[in-house]
Symmetry: C2
Subunit: 446 residues, 2 copies
């Protein structure tokens, strides 16, 4: 990894060249580099967390001055319970991943087709806060044989520089080229990088929806990611009440700044007086602001004590199209699963949506018909995560309809090529005519 | 299928709505629709070929007047040997394909993750000639559960209209919505269609590189395809002479207008006087114009009879960056496999490249290092084809580095979603802390 002040075009050229080297390194060499990074980061915990604390102090002040959102401050904190450990564990998990499966077909005797996975080439990762992203991405890029250019947000500069120095020193002792992972710290280079489609093969933005929208509209390079995370939960009347409380509270409060947190609760009319009150009480006890439509407000006001009811807010239409990223939840009443599905397909962001019900047919209908990357039954929307899915770590969560959808791990950073090993076969000898050969198309095992 | 003069936005909206219906139809219903199309097309062969003959007459005249390239005329001909049969066989092959494999992981006891493939949504297919594309695409779209909007070139209007009428009538008797496949025949609608990124999920252009380049630079919708097909063959000195002749002649002459035909022959210096002369003689006998660099021209002039040598042409630099799409082949001398790889990675179009050699290590080096969708050893570049690969048929050949690369069949029209079936599990109960659970990440069989 190198910290570069090079011109974007030179950084991109160097990355392209490094990607060719990286693509031909054996798995063992790439795994050794990951081990080296893990050891080095473990040994430098104190120094990196100190740098992160400096970022956090500055960001907290900026937030107090109204110049930065609290959700960014929250994402910035590398000392947050479990975050450092998850980051380190992610590197080892990635190291253990196997190369994605390929396809093999015998086209004819002595004519074998093989599909082998290979790296995409050069990735451009643009991120705002979340310092752990740098370790996640560096390990996934090295494991998959891609070169990467990382451009971090100014809020987390100290953390990034500290982490990248450690990774850079660790890579020195390996065969991975130093230019394979480059951290660009110069300002205002994003437009220049986005124009380099001859060198950069994929852009992965991680940050606010403004950032992602800007990037998507400013480049011809394919962009992998999501702008919004407007996730919904549909609370059906046969749901187990205790389960409903657990799952909804976890989905809303375990990390409100995350894109997989729930933003809208769709309550079946038949659940308004039975399931909604205990759910609302648990949420209010956790400090969640509830923005209710008329029916849910009426039901809650009747059921809850006056003390609680005074803090119920009225939802307006825009609340159902908003990613609050904070302890705010919009509540809407729907009469059927069909209405819930339709609401989610129109107002959601095709990220992750869940149903809580004890009816298997309703759950299956919901999961088939909701057009989202994640469709969950009786579990938290926050399960949508590469680490929880077993991908080691993730480069982000995609709401794209092509290439990779949902949490993107190693597989999303790979493409494939087709190899054929033949013995002089030509196309003119195959066909339907007399004396012509037919393809066998026999699947071969790996 | 409907032939529509509707506004592009209305066609796109109708397609989106049909895609939701199509996505929930069972496999049997989609297969029945393919059977109906196959029967109907078989019965209407005469009528469709007559329409195609009218297109062909007009195009031939336009070509004579210099208004249309001969390669377009060649692609237009549905009566060309085997083309009609291949088109019909493609429909049945697609019907027999199985839904792409999914992933299943037990995250924890009673918490199962499943990745299921699902259609992308709405495809926009823009094509110039090649009337068979309409049957290929319609069958792949229906099989995969995508809706499709087809916009054909004016050269093949008669053929398209004839084919789409037959398919439309066949679909009437099935449960596939009529708006699932729409043929847009109004002119000048392409810019409007390319702006509809809220309804259209993927654009697949099939036509000249000018068309593809225009489309890629005019839309935010992902584009799948290739602009150029500059394919090369590297002739190494240990190649079997008879095999070299067979493979190179097939790669150049079996269908010169195809994107997978060879355009550049890279001859190892050590092959100049041994292998090149018989190859060149065979090509010249088939009417191929050879554009030679100085070394290859010198070698050929010395070896071949004067009669042949007078028709050797001099190559200029642009010949190695040109897709001739005709009986023209550029010949360049290189000293090593490394020089051949480097030439291909710089001048090729990352489509399909082949090596002819009897050395397995050289072949493996070539296939690993050439950054192309197809890398072949001892077989024709024209093997790069969805039907030959066993995909039934193809929507095109992609040189993209994401989603789908090489011949794109059913799998390239699918994406996936993640389903989780749980029992109330929440993220807060998992972690490294005491009393917390760990994910099992146990792979399940299908």
């Amino acid at each position: 990894m190198s910290l570069t002040n090079a011109l974007p075009v030179d950084a991109a050229k160097a990355a392209k060249s490094a990607s060719h080297t990286l693509a031909t390194l054996p798995t063992s060499a790439r795994n050794d580099a990951l081990t080296a990074i893990h050891v080095a980061l473990s040994q430098s915990k104190e120094e990196i967390l100190a740098a992160n604390a400096r970022d956090l102090t500055a960001a907290t002040k900026a937030a107090e001055d109204g110049k930065l959102s609290l959700s960014i401050v929250s994402r910035l904190d590398l000392g947050k319970k479990g975050k450092w450990e998850d980051m380190l564990k992610g590197i080892l998990d990635v190291r253990e991943l196997e190369d994605p499966v390929t396809l093999r077909t015998r086209l004819d005797e002595g004519l074998d087709l093989e599909r082998v996975s290979c790296p995409i080439g050069v990735l451009l990762i643009i991120f705002e806060a979340r310092p752990e992203v740098i370790a996640n991405i560096a390990s996934l890029a090295i494991k998959s044989g891609n070169a990467a250019i990382l451009k971090g947000g100014k809020e987390s500069t100290e953390s990034f520089v500290a982490i990248s120095r450690v990774i850079s020193a660790a890579l020195e002792a390996t065969v991975v080229p130093n230019t394979a992972i480059q951290l660009v710290t110069t300002r205002d280079v994003i437009p220049q990088l986005l124009a380099l489609d001859q060198y950069i093969d994929l852009v992965i933005p991680r940050g606010s929806n403004e950032l992602v929208r800007y990037i998507k509209s400013s480049t011809k390079i394919p962009v992998l990611g999501h702008a919004d995370g407007i996730c919904s939960i549909y609370l059906e009347h046969t749901a187990d009440p205790e389960m409903a409380v657990r799952v909804i509270v976890d989905s809303k409060t375990s990390y409100p700044a995350a894109c997989n947190s729930v933003e809208t609760l769709l309550v079946e009319t038949a659940s308004l007086e039975t399931l909604l009150p205990p759910v609302a009480e648990a949420l209010l006890a956790k400090g969640v602001s509830l923005r209710c439509d008329a029916s849910s407000k009426k039901a809650l006001t009747a059921k809850l004590s006056l003390h609680s009811s005074v803090i119920l807010q009225d939802a307006d239409e825009s609340d159902f199209d908003t990613e609050h990223l904070s302890l705010t939840l919009a509540i809407k009443t729907v009469s059927t699963v069909t209405e819930a599905i339709s609401h989610i397909n129109i107002h959601g962001s095709h990220h992750t949506d869940a149903i809580i019900t004890s009816s298997s047919p309703l759950a299956e209908q919901f999961m088939s018909s909701v057009d989202s990357a994640g469709v969950f039954w009786n579990t938290s929307t926050r399960m949508a995560d590469g680490m929880r899915f077993g991908f080691g770590t993730e480069v982000g969560i995609s709401t794209n309809k092509i290439h990779a959808r949902g949490p993107v791990g190693l597989e999303g950073l790979m493409i494939y090529k087709y190899k054929i090993r033949g013995g002089g076969q030509i196309t003119a000898e195959y066909g339907e005519g007399s004396g012509q050969r037919s393809f066998k198309h026999e699947k071969l095992l790996f």
